[in-house]
Symmetry: C2
Subunit: 606 residues, 2 copies
């Protein structure tokens, strides 16, 4: 079926049900960033693979909102359909809210599946419809009866992270969560985010590609714990684990009915943006709601000493594998055929051979030349570049291990570089090192920190259209909050102070359309610095130890301090990695991490 | 009368009126930062001169909240009174709101003068009292009948800024304001902020020390303009000016009655934090309120080409006077007796002699040695330091001219300096130059920009407990919004993107208690930089051209780029100032602005 044929079927259904507008989001029931195939309803109807979509279908017209990362791909995917692409944030393009205000008429009805729209958004739509004198249906799934070959919900056995690997038992974490509930005078906590539940229970799954989470809800009481998971995923081990810990297991699909029937003995704490409208409506009708950030989010973000110890070991192991790959690439490029996919496969195989390997933490991005300038580029067998002996290969990759989740980007010279390529690589490097070496007072948020990385590029009139850093889970999602580093926060994005124990990526870049893309990403651990009359200072410790390609560095764009910082990073990298290298590889590593002279020529940055 | 005697009188009044709690703020009727003597009611009752006070008087106890800038002075001023100092923001100190929630009981009554509490704060107090089952009286002035020798409202004739000096006529500004009202679908705009009204009407007054504003309110209609000013301040010229422009003049004190009696033909736009609770309550009872920032604020902040031209000339003239003063200081220190006040008087006299001089833009801060480490230090005849031939003299000063409002800080070596003093001076300089040379994308707010200045100090574990930059008026208040540069925004503080035409101070500092204080403040004009695929870049142009004391610079703490930036600023300073200097003074200026070698020794900042 084409998109238009699917829309025609949906419009028949809309007619039957008296629906004038159908709104379809791209989220699952848990406000996840990435979702399982079962939940890709907006993709089914529109063909658009973006993970940030709002698809609005009217009786005659249809509109799809997505963000700048996906304008190009969405335009291609929507070609031939009757769906109008709405480029969010572009001048003259109304937001969905503005569009609804202008177009929904009195007496009309809008429908969405209340399980896939978060409660914050749901409330906003509800307000708009109320004002317009229109009505709302939220208990309907647009795919029902139309998406015939819809994939089933994923089923993968739940597995456990042993307490000694987690650093804190379920009981200890639960006590902390109940403490946070008591602080807010809440009697229950409703958890819907999959990584919050995985962290709290020390359980993991495989229900979302590269995200080791299981589909679940949890209702935490003062002395009860209700967990909703797919029955087929409950192993004997997990069943025993729950029984021993007074975790009451329920079938995943019963959560709404359970909440409908439950007698809440007190108030319920929840975070609207992390809770579906369906769940929120049921709870808000029955109990006092305490609106607050999920306490699990911050607890999860501040890694405990055991986690930190394991993360350090895991990142070193991962860095060793990456650096072996870099050696392979640098010594073979120009001598043998290397494609984007063959490079990725080479690296992926090295990770897969590491102890504790679970899966990749995301599909490896291997992008050569102009391909690397495209955000979210993914090479395919049919459509991929062969590396030529010039320009850059950008490789952004990571793994899930029983000991941590990794993420790293290195950009490597494949041969000759233009002066412009070297300049932009060097500026990206200066940006990366500037953030890596930041010393800052407690209270600084990601907006304060972003300037460390972005300012060296701004100085040259260059910007990158993405954030500088994101949090990273522990045997969990490669993107996690609440901390992040960016210069603009969208409404709803959290801007929180950094704390010792938080992990953050440091990944500035330069992207020149049609030419090349550069990104250098090193993962950092936030640590306590000095404490004095001004307060508590914080600093970063790199977790990633992999050489920066000196073939691409032009020290004319560096201050002596920048060069000293690079030399320092390389000296430590050599020290950490050397035990894992020998012979020619060791000699190569020594050369790849050699110190550069501090003052080579007068710098151009004066 | 002592504070306690005054409180006793107030408590008698409270008993008569059935009042259990009296709340007294330090603001005037216009949410001004600085206020006339008539409005200093909290100072009258408490003796505390802080300009950020909330004084709460109960039947038996009294409490005064103020912020960190005033903890030391307030403690001294409250000594001997029965008032408890509440240090806002300190651990374990409840906010006023928290205190009211804990202490106000059902059936009790709290009073405040609704003209002196802004509507945002008023609504918060009202909510707390409602919850407590307490009631509120807001039409009572605590000073009535008690403050016998209360100063009268200030009376100074209103004067005009001619259109050719303002760069835009009242009619042009009014059209823009009405455009902003139309955008918000508002039929009226209620203006209470004195500088907003001064800007819009191109009128000025002298009702607040160093702030050339007149006491006024304005109600802007679609085709009406009601202006409330003190009748004694209306000159014949201003009367004619208003008559010619359809400005309806009303006596200042009639504003509340006027609003009570007015038939609003539509909705009223206002900003709650810039409007007194008294005004807000009257309007909200009679008309739909459109809550929005005063459109005048942003319009006033973005200087027009005529203003910019005049500001540049005025800052150059002011810089010449300051530099003559610096010459006088540097060549006479150690040879003649110089005190903090004699230095200030020398500088003030030079400004007073300049064409178009109106008054100082704030009382000159002249602080030697350890005195400069105290925020808001003010030398007095009885209590001031004599400059000795070592350490620093910090001078923060500015003037009001018919052509602009200036502000500048230079810190000068009075003789020998310690290595620590030189290091901290140099770090402050690097911070100042880093912000001055920033290139940034449109969209960057003061939090993004703050890092440019603060990071060089953070690197050494140093912080300054104030913002980095504030906006500055044009023949108006030396502090104006909405833009400012700071790393933490308090609730209610505005965080707005910078725009070309905005003026901002760049004033990092180092303050070592008991030892010394350093601040370097240069005023910057925001200008358009390049526009490219990433957006519109912005940059700063210095308005202040005055030498940085090279006697205090240790280039070991500078990168070559920092030194190049200093040399560049000094080369331009010499070029701008040289025409106004001759003979020995010119030779001194050349030496004071000489270029430093880019690479002197290997820097310590590696």
């Amino acid at each position: 079926m084409t998109a238009n044929e699917k829309l025609a079927l949906l419009r028949l259904k809309m007619q039957d049900e008296g629906i004038d507008w159908f709104l379809i989001g791209s989220s699952d029931y848990h406000a996840s960033e990435y979702v399982g195939d079962f939940f890709k309803v907006s993709e089914f109807f529109s063909g658009c693979t973006s993970d940030n979509v709002l698809l609005l279908i009217g009786r005659e017209n249809a509109y799809l909102w997505t963000d700048g990362r996906y304008f190009i791909s969405a335009a291609k995917e929507l070609a031939g359909s009757s769906i109008t692409l709405m480029k969010s944030g572009e001048k003259g393009v109304p937001t969905l809210e503005e569009f609804l205000r202008e177009n929904v008429k009195k007496g009309e009805t809008l429908a969405f599946d209340g399980r896939t729209i978060n409660a914050e958004a749901g409330a906003a739509y509800d307000d708009i419809l109320m004002e317009a004198g229109a009505s709302l249906i939220t208990d309907i799934d647009p795919a029902d009866g139309i998406w015939k070959d819809r994939p089933a919900l994923p089923v993968h056995p739940i597995f456990l992270v042993p307490d000694e690997l987690a650093g804190a038992s379920f009981a200890e974490k639960l006590e902390a969560v109940r403490g946070a509930m008591a602080e807010k005078k809440a009697d229950y906590l409703m958890l819907s985010r999959l990584d919050d539940i995985a962290w709290l229970t020390n359980a993991r799954g495989n229900d979302i590609f590269c995200n080791p989470v299981m589909l679940a809800y949890a209702l935490v009481g003062k002395d009860s714990f209700h967990l909703f998971t797919e029955e087929e995923e409950v192993t004997d081990e997990f069943d025993d684990y729950c029984a021993d810990r007074d975790i009451t297991l329920h079938p995943y699909e019963t959560v709404l009915d359970f909440l409908e029937g439950f007698s809440f003995d007190g108030s319920v704490m929840l975070e609207k943006s992390a809770t579906s409208d369906a769940i929120y409506q049921i709870i808000a009708n029955k109990a006092d709601v305490v609106l607050a950030a999920n306490p699990t989010e911050r607890m999860k973000a501040v890694k405990n000493p055991v986690e930190i110890e394991n993360i350090k070991k895991t990142y070193l192991m991962d860095s060793v594998a990456l650096t072996h790959f870099i050696y392979w690439f640098k010594t073979n490029v120009g001598k043998m055929k290397i494609t984007e996919l063959s490079a990725a496969e080479n690296l992926d195989a090295r990770r897969a051979a590491l102890p504790g390997y679970i899966e990749l933490s995301f599909p490896t991005i291997s992008a050569y030349g102009a391909n690397a300038a495209m955000a979210h580029y993914a090479a395919t067998e049919e459509n991929q570049a062969e590396v030529e002996p010039h320009g850059f290969l950008l490789v952004d990759s990571g793994g899930q291990y029983m000991g941590g989740t990794t993420d790293v980007t290195r950009t490597m010279a494949a041969g000759e570089l233009t002066a412009e390529e070297k300049r932009d690589f060097t500026l990206t490097l200066v940006a990366n090192l500037n953030l890596l070496n930041a010393r800052f007072l407690y209270g600084a948020t990601g907006k304060v920190l972003d300037t460390y990385a972005r300012s060296p590029l701004w100085e040259y009139g260059i910007n990158y259209n993405h954030g500088t850093g994101h949090g990273i889970g522990y045997i969990l999602n490669v993107h996690e909050g609440p901390q992040n580093i960016r210069w603009k926060f969208n409404p709803g994005q959290k801007e929180v102070p950094f704390e010792a124990g938080m992990i953050i990526s440091d990944e500035p870049g330069v992207y020149i359309e049609g030419k090349y893309g550069i990104r250098i990403e090193t993962i950092l651990l936030t640590e306590a610095g000095i404490e004095n009359e001004y307060g508590q200072f914080l600093k970063f410790l790199p977790l990633t130890w992999a050489p920066i390609d000196l073939d691409a560095v032009d020290t004319a764009y560096m201050q002596p301090r920048d060069i000293a910082r690079l030399n320092d990073y390389h000296a430590k990298t050599f020290e950490k990695l050397a035990p894992y290298f020998e012979g020619e590889e060791l000699a190569w590593l020594r050369e790849a991490t050699r110190p550069l002279p501090l003052i080579d020529k007068l710098t151009k940055q004066l």
